[in-house]
Amino acid sequence: MIRAVAGRELRALFLSPLAWSLLGVAMIILAWLFLVQIESFMQLQPKLIAGASELGVTDLVVAPLFDSGAMVLLLLTPLLTMRLLSEEQRSGTIRLLFSAPISTAQIVLGKYLAMLGVFGLLLLLIALLPLSLLLGGTLDLGRLAATLLGMGLLLACYSAIGLFLSSLTEQPAVAAISSYGLLLFLWIVNLSGSDDRSGLFEWLSLTSHYRPFLDGVVRSGDLAYFLLLIIASLLMAIHHLESRRRGG
């Protein structure tokens, strides 16, 4: 049941030029960033060797790529998630799903699974960028795996939040704008000073839970943060769809 919903969603995404153009734009920008990092690494390399530095290509190319990549994808994901549920509510096709013998949870999970499919594909393509360096050098593969895990969780989190905000409104544009707002807020919330009282903001922030992955550190606290955010968003989306049925 979930698979049927997810399958239809994926089909619709790839039938429209939206998914293709987003994947294409994301890859062009990330590839450009990647090349810029490599170029600056090539310029730094003699100094690094002379200074016997421990910094390598993973520190100076891969980590910055995924750091700025997270921001680029933040700008792109709401455009994919915005119409997931809002479009169904606006065009009335949600009635087909509601009158069918499937539960609201299955509808939401199906949609979410479709998003994970798209972003899984995107992650695979992004992973090819650093992996191409293996042709001419070595990489810290363990650290790359941690980075990819972090990026995967971040994308899963973006789409869960986008899906929730898409359940709130019939206007895809409103869903997109509110997703931008919430995601950017979560991204920058830790900028509010660094005294003891900002501990909560630090904990709330996506950045402070994403960056450790780039350093190759996988902490259970960060994993829990992402999973919590994903599960909470999905539950709220399910709850909100249910209450729309009740409230009209």
Binding site: M1, A4, V5, G7, R8, R11, A12, L15, S16, S91, G92, T93, I94, R95, L96, L97, F98, S99, A100, P101, I102, S103, R245, R246, G248
Partner: protein, 314 residues
């Protein structure tokens, strides 16, 4: 046998506005139930509640004996629903769409091809399988909507204005399809077109401002009543003297409703009028009972005694 749809004291409020109030009725197997009412009477809201799209503010819905609130999945598996606007994904092809509908109605992948083919044949969509839904005409989109509602052979079919936007030929096809469907299941049908109710439905419910104002069988053709239009004023007197006419009710100076007695048929009356020298312009069966009831219960502010109404229709 349990009723297919059993509704008790159903109400639905939007804030202060009450869209449906204290509605109760049943749909039996093999029955086509017509759902009438002016725009905004609460027909679509009721149909959405029965299909699980909206939750009722209060009251109970049982589908094929299963409570919709307690076991929604099981209850809805017996149901096919066509909303007012067909719930179509314009970017999909007809086959893809129907296959998806089959899957979410728990038809296994192996059986879904057959189900899709059957639904397409029944709705006259066979040559349209590979067309993109968004490019189809409104009539064909409506048919895809109907195909979606019957793809899983539901026992209960709810159709919200199924013939709107169709040309006369398509309307005739859809009506005969609905008649076929009713042999095996129960159909709840909303429409604005009174002749459609007369030709399709066994029983009719009329809603007005969220309340059930009339419930009764659809008037059968009134065998013993005729409408007669004469060519000249003042010939009404001769009608009363015709053999076999038991009552004459003048509707306007030239039009009369005759009630016949005994075995006299329309042909006898026509012959008799002409023989008496009347100029006969029109003679037809009096079928407008439903229209009269409809305007009386929805326009007239008279509190209508349902029992006497039902009697009159019978």
């Amino acid at each position: 046998m349990a009723a297919l749809i059993h509704i008790e004291n159903l109400s639905r409020r939007y804030g202060d506005h009450c869209a449906v109030e204290d509605l109760s009725f049943e749909l039996q197997p093999g029955e086509v139930l017509g759902f009438l009412g002016p725009n905004g009477a609460g027909k679509s809201t009721t149909m959405q509640i029965i299909s699980g799209v909206l939750a009722p503010s209060s009251g109970r819905v049982r589908l094929d004996g299963i409570d919709l609130r307690q076991d929604p999945i099981q209850a809805k598996s017996a149901l096919g629903y066509l909303p007012e606007t067909p719930p179509l994904y314009p970017e999909m092809r007809v086959d893809e769409y129907l296959r998806f509908c089959a899957r979410i109605h728990r038809i296994s992948a192996a059986d879904s091809e057959r189900a899709v083919a059957r639904a397409k044949t029944r709705c006259g969509l066979s040559p349209m399988g590979s067309r993109v839904i968004g490019n189809l005409s409104k009539g064909y989109q409506q048919r895809v909507g109907i195909a979606q509602a019957i793809i899983h052979n539901p026992r209960i079919i709810i159709l919200d204005e199924p013939t709107s936007g169709l040309d006369p030929n398509q309307v005739r096809e859809i009506r005969s399809l609905i008649r076929d469907l009713a042999e095996a299941c129960g159909v709840l049908l909303s429409t604005h077109i009174l002749p459609e109710v007369q030709s399709l439905c066994d029983r009719v419910l009329i809603l007005h401002q969220g309340r059930l104002v009339y419930s009764g069988p659809v008037s059968q053709r009134q065998q013993n009543r005729l409408l007669v239009t004469l060519g000249t004023d003042g010939d009404g007197a001769l009608l009363a003297d015709l053999p076999g006419v038991s009552a004459v009710e003048p509707l306007d100076p030239r039009q009369f409703r005759l009630t016949l007695a005994g075995s006299h048929g329309p042909a006898d009356i026509a012959e008799a009028i002409v023989r008496q020298g009347g100029r006969l312009c029109e003679l037809r069966d009096d079928q407008d009972d439903l229209e009269r009831i409809f305007s009386q219960v929805t326009l007239g502010q008279i509190a209508f005694d349902q029992a006497t109404l039902a009697e009159r229709v019978q």
